[in-house]
Amino acid sequence: MDDQRTDTTIKRILGPAGHEILCDECFDKLDTYVELELRGEAADERVPGMRAHLEGCPACHEEYESLRDLVDRPT
């Protein structure tokens, strides 16, 4: 196990520091957060704790990326 892998493992175990919303609130606010972000507005200020949750929860992060990419793609 090298240092980089160890650091990744440690981050995965300890998760984000500071305030973090949980999965239900993340789902509730995901559409608002994504649209704020795509408009270049202060998404992290308007939805505090979202960014930390997306760092700590791989499942919610996947769904965030999918929604952002789906909404942002040209029709």
């Binding site: 160890t6 175990i13 998760g15 994504v34 929860c57 929604l67």
Partner: protein
């Protein structure tokens, strides 16, 4: 083209397409039927989008499996949306709000499919085995000390349930929805357990004066 919402009084107003679709869904007869069909098409588009994104990492998703999964996800998302229609607050476009239900349904089904027939490692011994390895001479002493302290805190400070959930999700790579199924609980409840376990670990490490990220 991405259509920006009109921002009035600090709150985005629903765009015209959202208003029309919502009005149809709250209507009756043919108007509602048409709105339902339109919404179902949108949800299917989102579900297919998610299936396509994940398909390359899922070689066992054969033939029409992906399309079946997308259709089922669209149906389940439609039911969920109709049950929660009154919860739409207009803080985003209605289509964005609706898409997230289809993406969630598809993502959860895909994760479950990927783990179908696989053992879900729940035992904390997996952590002990991993952490008990010789980390090797190249590992910085600081990282080694932190890893040992984390292992000790996992063993000493967490409840058996917290240990099981933390090990399965963060070390054994079990998707949270798969673990929720196995433990007959919800994603939200499991993440709360993980969150509490992480807080306990951080507190234990801080009390020992160990260098942990606090940002």
């Amino acid at each position: 083209m991405y259509v920006h919402d009109v921002v009035m009084a600090g709150r985005p107003q629903p765009d015209a397409a959202s208003c029309a679709l919502l009005q149809g869904l709250r209507g009756e007869g043919a108007e509602r039927d048409q709105a339902l069909a339109e919404l179902r098409d949108l949800l299917l588009k989102a579900a297919r989008f998610e299936v396509r994104r994940r398909a390359s990492a899922m070689p066992h998703l054969r033939g029409g499996d992906g399309e079946d999964l997308a259709q089922q996800s669209a149906d389940d998302a439609l039911m969920a949306i109709l049950a929660k229609l009154d919860e739409f607050r207009g803080e985003s476009r209605f289509t964005t709000w609706a898409y997230k239900f289809a993406l969630l349904e598809a993502a959860v089904k895909l994760r479950r499919r990927a783990w179908q027939g696989r053992e879900v490692p729940l035992k904390a011994e997996h952590w002990s085995q991993m952490a008990g390895r010789d980390f090797g001479p190249d590992l910085e002493a600081e990282s080694g000390e932190l890893m040992e302290a984390i292992q000790h805190a996992i063993d000493q400070d967490l409840t058996p349930h917290q240990r099981e959930v933390l090990v399965a999700l963060t070390l054994n790579g079990v998707p949270i929805d798969v673990l929720a199924d196995r433990l007959a609980t919800t994603r939200g409840a499991l993440y709360k357990t993980l969150h509490d376990a992480r807080r306990k670990l951080r507190k234990a490490l801080a009390q020992q004066g160990l260098p942990i990220d606090t940002t």
